[in-house]
């Protein structure tokens, strides 16, 4: 399961590392953006440890949200061209046997590259 962690310092406080030490759960940082006043990290956590890692991060001062589904596709707009396939760093998109686009949202890391690349504005990132 993926958690979106937002923290409001310069990244000097190693809260993700602390959360790992506090809980003993190994987590994978899939994407992180940190600037001068706040930061955001998308972390992948084993499903059964999601709650305790979330609580640990909250105790360390971060906002934590569970990312239910990453990218979503408007089937009325999508024409199954495939413009999204090669630009996705996580291979979320592929063709099925009938040349229809299928998505594996669980792999999505919310980078948003496909949202700009879709010629038909069929993709949105929601979390």
């Amino acid at each position: 399961m993926k958690l979106l962690v937002t923290f409001y310092d310069k990244g000097t406080n190693p809260i993700i590392a602390k959360a790992v030490m506090d809980t003993g759960v190994l987590i994978n940082v899939e994407r992180a953006v940190i600037n001068s006043s706040e930061g955001e990290a998308l972390v992948d956590v084993p499903d059964d440890a999601c709650h305790i890692v979330g609580e640990a991060l909250k105790r360390l001062g971060a906002d934590v949200r569970i990312v239910e589904n990453g990218v979503s596709r408007d089937l009325n707009r999508c024409v199954s061209c495939g413009a999204c396939i090669s630009i996705c760093p996580k291979e979320v998109f592929s063709f099925d046997d009938d040349w229809m686009i299928v998505t594996d949202e669980k792999k999505c890391i919310l980078c948003g590259r496909c949202v700009l690349a879709c010629p038909h504005q069929a993709l949105t990132i929601s979390y």
Partner: protein, 503 residues
Amino acid sequence: MHKSIDLINQRLQDGTAKIVTADQMPAIVEELGEEGALAEVDVVTTGTFGAMCSSGGFLNFGHAEPPIKMERIWLNDVEGYGGLAAVDTYIGATMQSETRGERYGGAHVIEDFINKRPVELRAQSKGSDCYPRRSITTELTIDDLNQAIMVNPRNAYQRYDAATNTSNTLLYTYMGTLLPNTGNISYSGAGTLNPICNDPNFRLIGSGVPLFLGGAQGMVVGEGTQHSSSSGFGTLMTTGDMKDMSSDFIRAAIMHRYGPTLYVGIGIPLPVLDIDVVRATAVRDEDIMISIRDYGVPSRNRPAVRKVSYAELKSGSVELNGEEIRTSSLSSYRNALAVARKLKDWLDQGQMTLSLPTRYIDTARISRPMRETKRVTLVSEIMDTRVIMVKEDEEIQLAAKKLLKGEANHLPVQNNEGCLVGIVTTFDISKAVVHPERKLKVKDVMTRNVITTEANEPIDIAAQKLEHHHISALPVVDAKGCCIALLHASDLGRLITSHGGNQ
């Protein structure tokens, strides 16, 4: 054996004609042989569905009271052509909205009309004795128009070269998003289903031949603009009634930072007259070769990286320099199949009669580049050669002095050999002063990945680099990598504004 067009039409009328989609033809020929396939199959339907920028439609609004000769015309704030007196216009797919920019364009106006949504017409005129009215604003749906005739100057490209990007910059092009460092390949076209690929000698496709256009029955006008049949890049001019079209097969689209375009579904039924038609329609994806071109080179002559077949592109990845590079299609093969199948349905139901061209398309045409009578302005003509430089091992105080003395914002940084190795700005120096930890030398604060230009580069390409990277100056380097001048955004801005209209 030869089958006449009349015989095939008779079978279509009787409901006895055998119709297949073009993707099935290779297997049929393999199984039955060429003679067997000729005896078995009467019509092959083709299809393609992709971005066809050179598309649009003629609209007639009917006369207003009092009447107006429209000279400037907007539909939902997208300008249409105003030189067709009095209440006609041509709306082109790629024209952008004056209020919504690249998010809405002529393609969207066309899709809105086809979906029977209301569209605001606004027009102006200088007024005349016969057409006294000066302006008009009204809301119209496609049912209010006398005619809405799609006429697309350049459609259904026989094939289209694929795109990649060897530069280190992310590019947004009409070929979609191209990742830096050959990160992906994008292509367009239906390969084995493509109409012209199934009739490369234009024996069947020509003026007056019926086709599927956007869900309506239309026809081939003739060769399209930029038609280059002798090099395997034929195009078609097509027409059809927008009132009969469906947004299943006409879709507005936006290529990020390029603008609006129109996805068009086109299919042409090909009567199987003789063995030559059988051979041509047995074309496979493996047989259709194109080049992968490097869009990292901002020139008309984009270098070809390698040749590739549609079969390889459709497999999902292509090998380039020992690496598997993933591919993306911009056109929809799924919808191309839907076009070919819909066309087959029409024929199965006897809704369409086939015909041979009333005028044949030239098979020896070659498209030439533009003859330019005015030389483009080069970087060398506006660059600033009084450039002050600094060495990488010098202290930042010296850089600060040089910036102050030269009243400059940018200092190119050289190594001992005189090569450009970085650039420092007043911002970099200020930052170093505020955060002084161990930053003493120029090389500690400089930007190392410098975006550069060359003296013989056209200024528009330099302008694109400045805009893309949000920077305000480009060091001009020579062949040895030495900085010989600076190009300032301000000088470029003055020149481009003075020429007018240059974005």
